[in-house]
């Protein structure tokens, strides 16, 4: 198992440890007590269909949603118990690339990448410019500092977002659907970039996706989420060889009967028995 110097304080080389995590949206439970570990320096892919709870899981991991119960240990500390300033300190060590890029539309690409550096580091302007150029170079966007996000293509936006996520040299990098909405060639380029970053920095990465080809290319480990439960957790080979019905259905792309009633849809989302109708 690859161990980075920066991960020395993580017990057993585990970057993120999730224990019995439950998350609710209002009354409805989305994640039903899931547990898994992300080994330091590895790429964990969270697979799952629409409404499986994978986005909720990612949002909870980065602290955008609060767990109802359970623990998320990051760098050995329970994220839910951190004070606001401790959480902000932790967030500086974590990068997140959003599905649509989430670049700030009123700033240039360069300013987007520079923002966390300007706000959180004492670096002077010329050093920040050098770091920005370096980060954009790493994602293959050299020379695009002065472009506005609206002038970039979908794939370039995602690259710029990854550059911004890399700005603070994070120990853990999260990706939400990195190849969603891109054509296969551009998507393959993003996969290649993720592999390149993995090789160059041995960063811990958590990638949420439903693209099977991309998942098998980049993953060291995978979990398959279904209705808020983990149905499989293992290496890509283990998942590929799994005989479990739900895993096979996902891997072999077997369609489900269509849902027509609202109540069936809500049940599909949560795996719960539907409440009494009002």
């Amino acid at each position: 198992m690859a161990m980075e110097q920066t991960h020395e304080d993580d017990p057993g080389g585990v970057a993120i440890s999730v224990r019995n995590l439950r998350v609710n949206y209002g009354e409805r439970e989305i994640l039903h007590g899931i547990s898994f570990d992300v080994p330091a320096g590895e790429t964990m892919v969270i697979l799952g269909g629409s409404g499986s709870g994978k986005s909720t899981l990612l949002r909870t991991l980065v602290g955008l949603e609060q767990p109802t119960s359970g623990e998320i240990l990051m760098r050995g500390r329970n994220v839910a118990l951190l004070s606001k300033s401790e959480r902000n300190e932790l967030r500086k060590k974590v990068g997140m690339s959003f599905q649509g890029g989430a670049l700030f539309g009123s700033m240039t690409v360069g300013e987007n990448v520079a923002l966390p550096l300007r706000e959180h580091t004492p670096l002077d302007d010329s050093t920040i410019q050098i770091v920005v150029r370096l980060k954009l170079d790493q994602v293959g966007l050299s020379g695009f500092e002065d472009y506005m996000p609206a002038q970039l293509s979908g794939g370039m936006k995602k690259r710029a977002a990854i550059a911004r996520a890399l700005a603070m040299d994070p120990e853990i990098l999260f990706f939400d659907e990195p190849s969603a909405g891109l054509d296969p060639i551009i998507a393959a380029g993003i996969d290649e970039l993720i592999l390149k970053l993995k090789k160059a920095f041995r960063m811990t990465m958590v990638v949420v996706t439903h693209e099977l080809a991309s998942a098998f290319l980049i993953a060291d480990r995978m979990i398959l989420l279904d209705k808020g439960n983990i149905v499989a957790n293992g290496t890509p080979e283990e998942l590929r060889g799994s005989k479990q019905q739900r895993v096979r259905q996902f891997m072999d792309r077997i369609p489900e009967p269509e849902l027509n009633a609202e109540i069936d849809y809500l049940q599909m989302l949560t795996g719960e028995n539907p409440p009494e109708r009002r």
């Binding site: 949002r59 980065v62 602290g63 955008l64 959480r87 902000n88 300190e89 967030r91 500086k92 974590v94 990068g95 997140m96 959003f98 599905q99 649509g100 989430a102 670049l103 700030f104 539309g105 009123s106 923002l115 966390p116 706000e119 959180h120 911004r164 603070m168």
Partner: protein
């Protein structure tokens, strides 16, 4: 029973909304006043950028509207004053109504249309595009980063704009005064200065600062509570305008009553 329930629910919702505005304003106040002492830099460049768009950008339209309102006031005032043979009082009538009431109020209405709605649309769009989430994951608090500079810009620019609106309103009244009431420009402005006391101007300016804070709080709160989907941005923008106008008039009523009952006899 249903009626009392509806009234009760509306009251609770209204109070909860005012509470959320207070929380947002409090957070912004902390970011501006306390955080700099804790070593958190505050971005004056963002506040200046906002001040330019909120204040300087509004000057042409505020000028024109205040000029027209001043003329309208003079015309309406003259209609009554002429009957009493007191047409020369038109200058003081315009001056007092503009500085105490219509200067701050008309400025607020213009700023709601230009900036309150823009705040809601800007923050709402950022919410929909996950930019607010991105700020949080970068350990940047949206209130500190987005909302606080807007409060600073508004608190500074509203009294400036209102002072200008007061002046333009008086000039609008002067148009009538000079052409129809036998004033010269010099005598009109002298009559205006004689009619005003400092309290008239100050009460107007205090109100304008309060209006600015209300407009910012409502615009930002509506933006931050935008749901999913771009049509939600439209809803937020509309809500920001309607709620701002209502709250500005309410705050106006409260402060006008306060100034009336505390005025020296």
């Amino acid at each position: 029973m249903a009626l009392t329930e509806t009234i009760g629910e509306a009251t609770i919702n209204g109070l909860a909304y005012v509470g959320s505005l207070a929380r947002l304003s409090g957070g912004a106040a902390r970011a501006v006043v306390i955080d700099p002492f804790r070593g958190r830099k505050i971005r004056f460049s963002r506040a200046i950028h906002q001040a330019m768009s909120v204040g300087v950008g509004a000057i042409p339209i505020v000028s024109l509207i205040s000029l027209f309102v001043g003329t309208i006031l003079a015309l309406q005032g003259a209609y009554q004053l002429r009957k009493l043979g007191a047409l020369q009082l038109v200058a003081s009538a315009v001056a007092i109504v503009m500085t105490r009431e219509l200067g701050p109020l008309m400025t607020a209405i213009v700023v709601i249309g230009r900036s309150g709605s823009a705040f809601a649309a800007e923050i709402g769009t950022m919410k929909v595009n996950e930019e607010i989430d991105a700020l949080e994951t970068m350990a940047l608090e949206p209130v500190h980063f987005l909302v606080a500079p807007k409060f600073v810009a508004m608190a500074v620019m509203m009294p400036c704009l209102t002072t200008w609106a007061d002046f333009m309103g008086v000039a609008g009244g002067g148009l009538f005064g000079v052409t129809n009431a036998g004033f010269t420009w010099a005598s009109y402005f002298r009559a205006t200065l004689d009619a005003l006391v400092l309290r008239d101007i100050f009460t107007g300016l205090i109100k304008s600062v309060m209006f600015g804070l209300v407009i910012t709080a409502v615009g930002c709160q509506e933006g931050l509570s935008t749901g999913l989907g771009s049509e939600e941005v439209g809803r937020s923008t509309t809500a920001a305008v309607v709620k701002s106008i209502f709250l500005v008039v309410t705050v106006d009523l409260v402060f006008t009553a306060l100034f009336y009952f505390t005025a020296p006899q």
